[in-house]
């Protein structure tokens, strides 16, 4: 003990003084790649107890025992450099930044560790890579960067949230989103829009149970730890990062030309298409009913391209200004950021104003305090690309439906009226469904979401001695939200059509959520006898969440010019008020031990008490253990010179998921206007029990094991990480189906089990490293296999519907089946179209003299009455209405009839594997970063084609692909004839391969040599051009394969009227002063 102490004292002594015996004095300067001096670099003589650190100018002086001595330069975040002293006296050392070195510090729960010492599975991403992408949030840049972390967006609208799933979905009906921890503050529903990517110092993702168990009942979906930048000792440094850019849709849908469109209308209904009296006539008859134009003339008419009218090249700008610096005692960092991103659909977009302050103060040698404060306000605006409320309403109320479907030619309607009126007066008389002018649609509604967020954290750290430290933090996270919607008299949502009777209407909803946090941890960190390193932590935390909401809506507003502020004059609708509150209290402990940095053991335990569960089940205990062995430290490995480091890791833990409503264990009774009843012609409001409580509710538990291997070779030029994991989630918090005869259809129960297993590989290589040219690569790939082990008490499957169109909302599209992944597509096998030889026909000519025999091939097509041959299967419709060219399905059970018995699995929305590939090059002042992302083997359901490749309605424009449709003259085409879509079912016809390879981010930059900048007061200037989503290679016929509207674990991979994804090019500058 005494000895250890002495050694430590000596080491410290050495670090600050160089009073040891000296043979040869060496001095020098350490700088980074940008020629900036590095302060505090450890300069050590190998195998001697001699060392020093660089001063504020990066300079050092050290005495080497001999000229054979090896001198080492070690600095966190940079590659360690070694060289033989030789005859050098004055050294100029350039350290290369490399966050992948083993000395890299990784943030783990309630602490940080060196990469080398990690026993669990922790993924990290270089923030320098993230900031290269011209996107609004760090999440958007995170996709494909870390193996096992699947980041995708549902669609392309600015400001929308990303779906992040770490190592597969554990939960069937509950959220699979990870827990975010921002500077130590755990947040379940973090809004990435509130954070400026430039402020992020590091992002670390805890993937396995041994690392997430310290987050207990909230750790099962993985944990994303974000640390923001803090000031560094040194002179004040002002940085400005700014960019301007432009976005454009990555693809447009090709639609029918005016000629093809008109031809289609004549196929559909020649009578109305050529009619004389109604506005739909495309032949523009004159007063006496004589057509003034022929179908052929439409070949020379350009028509109206509605995509042109609605899509724009959208500007984007992003500016960040920061000031950082500090003294030994005080470190500060202040930044502000402004981002403005317009959407590629006109009048939609997102903007953000954000400011941040961080201050760390050493009060005395025992006490350190600090505060961080971040404020952001955002506005997301613009119409939705499809109608949000699909219950009982027609898809024509959605924007993109009309952008694709609104007819391209005006027919008999006056052109001015056609372009400006909100409704197409001529449209579809027989179905009573109207079409809405997409431009008018956008221009006549207001939809704004304002959000502001304050996140603040205060901490105090008291060191009792150099081993024992107490840290107390307090934090507050507050979100204010305001949603405004307004639909004026020309908006589809206000018109008295299709059963909607709201008139001019609007609503406002205000909500405020607040989380307070207190955390107290005591850590002990000590190395005994130089070989036994011990690190222990115990803590106590408590966190409280409240959320309240107030919303009002009014219909029939008399003064539409007042917009949403005129609600008081309208007919008030029932108010919406909500209050939600929950709290969590936890005890936690962790111990890390290693022997000679060779054998490692970690154990942790957290006890969580959550108000979301009844008293009996309130407390949960989440243990974990992990071990690792650094093989490379063993003697037998020393002969393998090329191995720089090798480590085997293994761990097991149990973690929880508590993502249920705050009050799910209570039965709820509420009054509502729709559950009441009318007696004597007056309406009595009803009070009804809306849900059944569960007094045995508890968190779901994931038992997870992980085995990993980290190898680095050739002096860390190649490093490789492999992880295999297996997770079993039991006691699923399932919104379980229960017998409807109980009076309820679902109840929140702990039922069922899901298993995820998978493999993740990451390869980092330094392919080339010369002073003028460097090339580094990162490749990661992951496979996940998701499987339902059990559902409710012997239930073998669950069907789920997609809500997108009233005609399909009650038809299931997804199957969750025991033994299979959580979601599979479910429907019929498409079998092309009926051909003429599937039918018998008779000549229906009224003129007996020309009547030909039955089934005579010379009977003209328009004189045939077809009957489906007895041996040919129907398509679910009555046999008498099936005609050649109608859709056909496979009769799986062979009973000659298509019905529910022919339903089955028709596709797999789950990818086989996903990953990313990054290459970074530098050549002199130039830098180039190329990042590819890929997803392979997943299928998508392209529902757009159900409406726009099938002419289910008259006067609705179609995708260009529908020009090639079946007809007696073109029997080779498999698109069914107009009207031949049979019943409203899902089939393999519109299931497509959603695999893709995407050139996600490409940045080319140039750093102006420092020598040229000195005169203008800039120390560092980097100019760049960056692109996002530049190329995508895919077979998917829709706009973009990264799509999943109404995304959930049960309903992935569905595409209908998704906001089109954009590609972005931006030009930017990073300057330091």
């Amino acid at each position: 003990m005494e000895k250890t102490k002495l050694i430590i004292l000596l080491l410290i002594w050495c670090a600050f003084n160089s009073l040891m015996a000296q043979n040869k004095q060496i001095s020098g300067k350490v700088v980074d790649e940008q020629d900036q001096p590095l302060i505090g670099v450890n300069v050590l003589i190998k195998n001697a107890k001699i060392g020093t650190i660089t001063d504020i100018n990066g300079r050092f002086v050290i005495n080497a025992p001999s000229s054979e001595s090896v001198i080492m330069f070690r600095y966190i975040g940079y590659s360690t450099k070694e060289l033989i002293v030789g005859e050098n006296k004055d050294l100029n050392i350039v350290l290369i930044e490399d966050s992948k070195t083993l000395d890299e510090v990784v943030v783990v729960g309630y602490g940080e560790q060196k990469r080398m010492d990690i026993t669990g599975s922790v993924g990290s991403v270089k923030t320098s890579d993230l900031t290269k992408a011209p996107v609004a949030t760090f999440e958007q840049a995170l996709a494909g960067r870390i193996a096992g972390v699947n980041v995708s967006s549902s669609e392309g609208d600015p400001g929308s949230a990303m779906n992040i799933v770490i190592r597969g979905q554990n939960s069937i009906t509950q959220s699979n989103a990870p827990l975010y921890v921002i500077d130590g503050f755990p947040i379940e529903d973090f809004n990435a829009n509130t954070l400026n990517t430039s402020d992020i110092a590091s992002i670390d993702v805890l993937k396995d149970a041994s690392s997430t168990a310290i987050y207990g009942a909230r750790g099962a979906n993985g944990v994303i730890l974000i640390t923001t930048k803090s000031g560094k000792e040194g002179r004040p440094q002002i940085s400005y990062d700014g960019s301007i850019g432009f976005s454009k849709e990555i693809k447009r849908m090709e639609l029918l030309s005016p000629y093809e469109f008109v031809k289609l209308q004549f196929d559909l209904n020649p009578i109305t298409a050529s009619g004389t009296s109604n506005s739909l006539s495309y032949l523009k008859p004159d007063a006496s009913g004589i057509p003034t134009i022929s179908i052929e003339d439409y070949k020379n008419i350009a028509g109206v391209d509605w995509q042109n009218q609605v899509l724009q090249v959208a500007p984007m700008q992003n500016h960040s200004l920061s000031l950082m610096g500090g003294t030994k005692a005080t470190k500060y960092s202040v930044s502000i950021n402004y981002l403005d991103q317009q959407g590629i659909i006109i009048k939609s977009g997102f903007n953000r104003l954000q400011g941040r302050l961080r201050l760390d103060q050493i009060v005395n040698e025992k006490l350190k305090v600090g505060v961080s404060l971040s404020y952001s306000q955002t506005k997301t605006y613009g119409t939705s690309s499809r109608f949000d409320d699909t219950s009982g309403k027609d898809p024509s109320f959605g924007l993109l439906y009309n952008v694709y479907g609104f007819r391209p030619v005006n027919g008999n309607v006056d052109m001015d009226q056609f372009l400006n009126d909100a409704i197409d007066y001529g449209s579809n008389e027989t179905s009573t469904i109207l079409a809405f002018n997409p431009l008018a649609y956008i221009n006549n509604q207001t939809r704004n979401i304002y959000q502001s967020n304050i996140l603040t954290n205060v901490y105090g750290e008291y060191s009792f001695n150099k081993f024992l430290k107490l840290r107390v933090t307090g934090g507050l996270n507050r979100n204010d939200n305001r949603n405004e919607n307004f639909y004026n008299s020309q908006s589809p949502q206000s018109l008295t059509v299709g059963g909607i009777i709201r008139g001019i209407n609007g609503s406002q909803r205000w909500s405020q959520s607040q989380t307070t946090l207190n955390e107290n941890t005591l850590s002990y960190n000590r190395t005994f006898n130089r070989v036994h390193s011990f690190n222990g932590l115990i803590g106590f935390t408590n966190q409280k969440y409240t959320n309240q909401l107030f919303g009002g809506e009014a219909w029939h507003l008399p003064l539409e010019e007042l917009n949403v502020y005129g609600l008081k004059q309208g007919e008030a609708q029932p108010l919406d008020t909500r209050y939600d509150e929950n709290s969590i209290m936890s005890y936690l402990g962790r111990a890390n031990y290693n022997y000679k940095q060779r054998y490692y053991a970690t154990a942790s335990l957290r006890a969580d008490g959550s108000s979301k569960f009844p008293a009996l089940n309130r407390w949960g205990y989440f243990p974990s253990v992990s071990l690792s062995w650094r093989l490379s430290e063993e003697k037998f490995m020393k002969s393998l010179q090329f191995i720089s480091d090798a480590k085997i890791r293994g761990g097991y833990g149990e973690i929880g998921n508590n993502r249920v409503g705050s009050y799910d264990y209570f039965s709820a009774l509420a009054l509502s206007t729709i559950s009441g009843y009318s007696y004597g012609n007056s309406y009595q409001q009803g009070a009804t029990t809306t849900s059944i409580g569960n007094e045995n509710l508890k968190w779901e538990t994931t038992k997870s094991s992980n085995i990993g291997l980290d190898v680095s070779m050739f002096n860390q030029r190649i490093s490789f990480t492999a992880d295999y994991y297996k997770k079993n989630t039991t006691n699923l918090l399932l919104n379980a189906n229960i017998a409807p005869s109980s009076g309820y259809t679902t109840a929140r129960m702990n039922i069922g089990e899901v298993q995820n297993s998978g493999l993740e590989l990451t390869l980092n290589t330094v392919n080339f490293s010369k002073r003028d040219f460097t090339w580094t690569s990162n490749f990661n790939i992951s496979w996940n296999n998701n499987k339902i082990v059990a559902l409710n008490d012997g239930q073998s499957n669950m069907l789920s519907n997609m809500q997108w169109n009233q005609n399909y909302n009650s038809t299931p599209l997804y199957l969750a089946e025991v033994g299979k992944p959580i979601a599979q597509f479910y429907g019929y096998q498409w079998n092309g179209v009926y051909q003429i030889n599937d039918f018998n026909w008779v000549d229906n000519s009224a003129d007996v003299s020309i009547k030909l025999p039955d089934n005579d091939p010379t009977v003209p097509y328009n004189r045939r009455t077809y009957t489906l041959k007895q041996e040919v299967t129907d398509n679910g419709s009555a046999r008498s209405i099936i005609k050649p060219g109608y859709i056909k399905y496979k009769d799986l059970n062979g009973d000659g009839h298509i019905d529910n018995k022919d339903l089955g699995v028709i596709g797999d929305p789950n990818p086989d594997f996903v990953g990313g590939f990054t290459n970074n090059f530098t050549y002199k002042g130039f830098d180039l970063s190329i990042f590819f992302q890929f997803s392979v083997g997943n299928q998508l359901y392209n529902a757009n084609r159900m409406l726009f490749e099938g002419a289910y309605r008259s006067d609705l424009n179609q995708f260009a692909s529908y020009a090639n449709r079946w007809s007696p003259e073109t029997p080779q085409y498999t698109n069914y004839t107009p009207g031949g879509n049979g019943s409203n079912v899902y089939s393999t016809r519109t299931i497509e391969d959603g695999s893709y390879l995407r050139l996600k981010t490409l940045q080319l930059g140039y750093t102006i040599p420092t020598s040229l900048l000195k005169s203008i007061g800039i120390t560092d200037l980097h100019l760049y051009c960056a692109t996002q989503n530049l190329f995508t290679w895919t077979k998917y016929s829709g706009i973009d394969p990264e799509v999943s509207i109404n995304n959930s674990a049960l309903t992935p991979g569905f595409d209908y009227a998704a906001y089109p994804r954009s590609k972005t090019i931006s030009f930017g500058v990073n300057a330091k002063f």
Binding site: M1, V497, M585, S662, L669, Q685, I738, G743
Partner: protein, 562 residues
């Protein structure tokens, strides 16, 4: 709320020269359990509710709404139709209509929907019965409301029994998630309980003349519906004693002196369209309210299922003659969809001079679907659209596309009269009283005073069979499209036989005759599909898959053929 206590302890540890300073931090929570004990603030629980009369009134409204709202279209058209009175005629093949054409399997969403709502209603009624006593209000109010809840619980069980046969019987509200699954109760026990509950409620509820409206459970409603239940039970179980119960119960309504036939048959339905009451004739109705399509379970959708396909301008309150201009502005709203076509069988059932035919089967049509120029239907045309509920009679403006406030007739006095006659005939053969009641209904049909004997119109019956045969047809004529025919065919045990008879009739009808002659909107006649698809298994509906798949107590045994 948190207390931090730091203790500094000096301990001498073996082999150590110095004392080790240990700091022990203890945290005591002043109220640890309070911190985690959070009760909901924005809703209440059933145990805390039911504290006063207002609460009871809100709760009973839900008991009514939950099951009765199914009459908006499911129990008024989709479920009871597809018989010899009429069929679904369109080719449109959404699953909602497949029930009428017997194309559905046990997975059909609408089976589930109706099943679950009826049971939800039962659960609400049970909850009401269990908690009502804790309210602070007069016993007479409690008794009355509990009587209503008790009757409705029995009525929902009855509706379930008519479509599904033997079903699980729920007499306690659901509270425990571990005992959700219960087996089916045999029909005999089910009817016994239903009759018991209804008789018990009879003494508890109000007299109808005290209310002046018909949407609530009253003594007359209980007695009349009890007669219906008993006739059904007699037919399904073969237990003749139910006829006595049916006869006596119907007689109580007749003898109460509170009821009489409305002189005009068509006024009965016009009243329903116009929110008017005649509680003498219309004894029990489902109360529909408003017209907001957004809340379509408190308004009625069924009127838009019937009628000639047309559309009425909503903004014109003085006349219905719409113009192209109004259409052009997209302001049209009220719609009749003409999904149902009545049959030649129904047409032929009416005698010449029976005024009910022209009201039940539309004798006119519109020139085109959006102009309201009337064209008379060809005389003697036998397949027509249904005219019982005609949207042009609505008076609550503006009209809305699907939903309106038309009440659904659950029990009419003519039914009570005919039920009495039928039960009495089963017990005693044709008796004078019974024949008089039958003739009262008949007289009104021919447009004469129902209460005055009329030599030319009145019928005489000499045998039990003769009267029974007459009653079978008379009930069809009187109650066509009022959700009664299917129930009658079932209890008489002739459902399958009758459907196959219809198949022959339709198959021998020329295709062109299956389209209403003057219809602007002919559609494609798919008359025969309903009757071809109808199989012996369709006599009862399948227990919905959603129940079968989770309720293990059912042992995977569905109704025969499913």
């Amino acid at each position: 709320m948190l207390n931090f206590n730091l203790y500094v302890v000096k301990i001498k540890i073996k082999n150590m020269k110095k004392f080790v300073t240990l700091i022990i931090m203890t945290i005591t929570l002043l109220s640890c359990s309070d911190f985690l004990d959070i009760k909901p603030k924005d809703f209440t629980s059933p145990t805390n509710y039911y504290s006063n009369e207002d609460d009871l009134n809100h709760a009973i409204a839900t008991v009514y709404n939950t099951g009765l709202s199914m009459y908006t279209r499911y129990l008024s058209s989709q479920f009871p139709l597809g018989t010899d009175e009429g069929f679904f005629k369109s080719t449109s093949s959404t699953s909602s209509f497949d029930i009428m054409t017997y194309k559905n399997d046990a997975g059909a969403a609408d089976f589930t929907w109706v099943w679950q709502n009826l049971y939800k209603g039962i659960d609400r009624a049970n909850e009401f019965l269990e908690y009502a006593d804790q309210a602070n209000c007069s016993d007479s109010i409690k008794t009355k409301l509990k009587g209503e809840a008790l009757f409705i619980r029995a009525y929902y069980h009855f509706v379930l029994a008519t479509y599904w046969g033997s079903v699980p019987m729920r007499l306690k509200s659901t509270k425990d998630l571990n005992s959700l699954n219960i087996p089916r109760t045999p029909e005999i026990e089910l009817y016994a309980q239903i009759v018991k509950d209804m008789k018990e409620s009879e003494a508890m509820v109000s007299d109808i003349d005290k209310l002046g409206y018909a949407e609530r459970v009253t003594k007359s409603a209980v007695q009349g519906i009890l007669a219906r239940v008993c006739l059904f039970a007699a037919g399904r179980t073969g237990d003749k004693s139910y006829y006595t119960e049916a006869r006596n119960s119907a007689l109580k309504v007749i003898k109460s002196g509170k009821h009489a036939l409305d002189a005009s048959y068509q006024d009965v339905f016009i009243n329903l369209m116009q929110d008017k009451y005649n509680v003498k004739e219309s004894i029990f109705e489902v109360g529909f309210y408003g017209s907001t399509y957004d809340n379509n379970y408190r308004c009625a959708v069924f009127p838009s299922y019937f009628g000639q396909r047309t559309s009425f301008p909503s903004s014109n309150s003085t006349n219905f003659i719409g113009t192209q201009g109004q259409y052009g502005k997209g302001l049209f709203s009220a719609v009749s969809s003409a999904y149902i076509l009545s049959t030649s069988y129904l047409y032929d059932a009416y005698e010449t001079g029976d005024l009910r035919r022209e009201w039940t089967m539309l004798d006119y049509t519109y020139k085109s679907w959006n102009t309201l120029t009337i064209v008379p239907e060809k005389p003697n045309y036998k397949f027509r659209f249904v005219g019982k509920f005609r949207r042009e009679y609505e008076i609550n403006f503006p009209l809305y596309k699907w939903g309106n406030s038309t009440n659904w007739p659950l029990l009419r006095y003519s039914d009570v009269l005919l039920m009495y006659a039928e039960a009495d005939n089963e017990l005693n053969g044709p008796q004078t009283d019974a024949i008089e009641y039958v003739n009262m209904v008949r007289r009104r049909a021919f447009g004469v005073d129902p209460t005055v004997k009329n030599q030319t119109i009145d019928k005489t019956f000499t045998s039990k069979d003769e009267l029974f045969t007459y009653l079978k047809d008379e009930r069809l004529r009187e109650f066509a499209f009022e959700a009664i025919r299917k129930m009658d065919l079932q209890r008489w045990g002739i459902f399958y036989e009758q459907m196959k008879k219809m198949q022959t009739i339709i198959e021998n009808t020329p295709a062109t005759d299956l389209v209403p002659a003057q219809s602007y909107w002919p559609g494609v006649p798919l008359a025969v599909q309903t009757y071809v698809n109808f199989d012996i298994r369709n006599v009862l509906y399948p227990i919905p898959l959603s129940e079968m798949s989770v309720n293990k107590a059912l042992n995977n045994e569905n109704n025969p053929g499913w």
